[in-house]
């Protein structure tokens, strides 16, 4: 019992980070039908941005988080403007390959500037952990670290904010309209370029926050961290139903909890295997994901 709960705790912390990244994938896909493979690198840059703001500028954690998010967001808007927008009318494969290219460029540039070695991430909060057994005897031995709680709470707050933007504001309404019918939206006067730029901004801000949180959680960032995390978050988005915003969150938690359980009950080296096994199974039996709907092919 305690073992199981401990794995759940670990899974929820990791899942919060996957969810923050997966949301960006799913929002961009929902509107442009583009899988933005550079998104994992955006998350990685969020981590480096965090180090810069915390160590070099010596900002407090909350200020650094509030600054890192828009910085990374603007960065993504520039990428969209110069790498993806010129290919708006092109076949879908063209921007997809461009996205892979952008991903490689960002990765190698970071390696060049910051070095290939992992960088330590300054710890904003004192290391602390709580024994759940002190309050609930049945959970004797379950430990929650303070960082895990922070990661989870920050991620949830950001997701609630995102939900409010998407459901209650007019830019969110425009995003939803665009994802349902691109042409009808622009014919109703929705300025698509601005809405798409905004979508990249929001998606990247969340990924940037994820990068900072993962730095805090694992005490380090490195140039390659975006690759695997990006793929995992992509898997989570597909699992939940790509293009469906709540699906990304559900997919992320299912994925991370499966990983945590596999690591706990068998071997940690199966961690990535289970993630991609899930991806393969989903693609075989339910390619539209948990919350998605099968796309009708027009004849």
């Amino acid at each position: 019992m305690s073992e199981f709960v401990q794995y759940l705790v670990n899974g929820f912390a990791q899942g919060s980070i996957y969810a923050l990244i997966a949301l960006g994938y799913t929002m961009v896909y929902g509107i442009l039908k583009l899988i933005n493979f550079a998104h994992g690198e955006i998350y990685m840059i969020g981590g480096y941005c965090g180090i810069f703001l915390l160590s070099t500028l010596g900002l407090p954690f909350w200020a650094a988080l509030m600054l890192a998010m828009p910085i990374v967001g603007i960065f993504a808007v520039l990428i969209e403007r110069f790498a993806y927008r010129p290919l708006r009318g092109a076949p879908r494969i063209a921007p997809l390959i461009t996205a892979i290219g952008v991903s490689i460029v960002l990765l190698e540039l970071t390696r060049l500037v910051a070095g290939a070695q992992p960088r330590p991430f300054p710890q904003p909060f004192e290391d602390m952990s709580y024994e759940l057994g002190n309050w609930i005897p049945a959970l004797d031995g379950v430990i929650i670290q303070r960082n895990q709680i922070m990661v989870f709470i920050i991620a949830i707050v950001l997701m609630v904010l995102l939900n409010a933007i998407v459901m209650k504001t007019k830019i969110g309404r425009a995003m939803r309209a665009l994802s349902m019918d691109f042409d009808a939206s622009r014919l109703m006067g929705v300025p698509i370029d601005r809405v798409i730029a905004f979508t990249f901004f929001i998606g990247a801000s969340l990924a940037g926050a994820g990068g900072m949180l993962v730095g805090m959680y694992y005490n380090q960032v490195e140039p390659y961290m975006g690759q695997l995390a990006g793929l995992k978050a992509f898997t989570a988005a597909v699992l939940g139903g790509i293009g469906v915003i709540p699906g990304a969150v559900i997919g992320a938690f299912i994925l991370s909890i499966s990983e945590a359980l596999v690591v706990g009950y068998s071997e940690s080296s199966y961690r990535d295997a289970i993630a991609f096994a899930i991806l393969i199974v989903v693609l075989m039996f339910r390619p539209w994901g948990i919350l998605g709907r099968p796309e009708r092919v027009k004849v």
């Binding site: 904010l161 409010a164 933007i165 504001t169 009808a184 014919l187 109703m188 006067g189 300025p191």
Partner: protein, 261 residues
């Protein structure tokens, strides 16, 4: 004074196919004009050029004397051209009200910061948008449907919501693409009344593509006929009914027959 819409020598080619060939259409403010023709005549292609979806190969489209060729669809929309679609294209999982609010997007602004903290103009502007959308729904008798998902409405009402959504962009010119498609005769008769009422209440000009001759002949003041991308006739409904080229295009007298169909 220039016409509301002045289309001159409008042409579009897709590869070797000339889909629309040197078409001239002129519409004065307040008119209700029909655009008819057999399937594949180029009617919807004309609408797509008028709204910026396609860029014409040559020719000009002037709205109130200003050339709107080459503008993006959302820019043309803000100049006052709105449309509906041949196949209903509502934002299906949004409510009826939200569908109209999308159309009001560019009209009333507030910043994201205001929205996030619920401050400043956010509440007021959102309320204004809702009031305006509800008023349009009320005028079309759809206000009791405002909070239902658009896709849950019966077919005829979905068509009406499409018109309401177009009206929410505050157009000068409303383009209706086969509004009666899939309707039964009594629904079509009601639609005829609705279109006339909308034109009066909203003080707009209407250009209508339609296959249902009973509707077109009844409500349009002037009609243009397209066939194979060419304008083959124009004039009042009675003139069009008698025009030999039109009868020819509709396979020898199909016009009279379709009236009773």
């Amino acid at each position: 004074m220039s016409a509301l819409l002045d289309i001159a020598a409008l042409t579009i080619r897709f590869g070797g196919l000339v889909a629309v060939n040197r078409v001239d259409i002129k519409i004065e403010k307040g008119e209700l004009v029909g655009l008819i023709g057999p399937n594949g005549a180029g009617k919807t292609t004309c609408f797509n050029m008028l709204t910026g979806v396609y860029e014409p190969t040559s020719g000009t489209i002037c709205l109130e004397g200003k050339n709107i060729n080459g503008l993006a669809p959302h820019q043309i929309c803000s100049k006052g051209v709105a449309r509906t679609f041949q196949n209903i294209r509502l934002f299906k999982s949004m409510t009826v009200l939200e569908n109209l609010l999308v159309s009001l997007h560019r009209e009333r602004g507030y910043s994201l910061a205001e929205a996030l903290f619920g401050l400043g103009r956010f509440g007021k502007r959102e309320q204004e948008m809702r009031t305006k959308a509800m008023e349009i729904l009320r005028m079309l008798g759809l206000d009791h449907r405002a909070h239902l998902p658009a896709s849950s409405l019966p077919y005829g009402e979905q068509r009406k919501v499409e018109i309401a959504r177009a009206l929410a962009t505050s157009p000068k010119l409303l383009l209706l693409d086969e509004p009666a498609a899939g309707m039964n005769p009594s629904e079509t008769a009601q639609l005829a009344k609705d279109i006339q009422k909308i034109r009066k209440d909203f003080d707009i000009t209407v250009l209508l593509i339609e296959h249902d001759m009973s509707l077109v002949m009844k409500i349009c003041e002037r009609i243009y006929v397209l066939d194979y991308g060419q304008l083959i006739a124009q004039g009042k409904p009675e003139e069009i009914k008698r025009d030999p080229r039109v009868i020819e295009a509709y396979l020898g007298g199909g016009l009279g027959g379709e009236q009773h169909a």
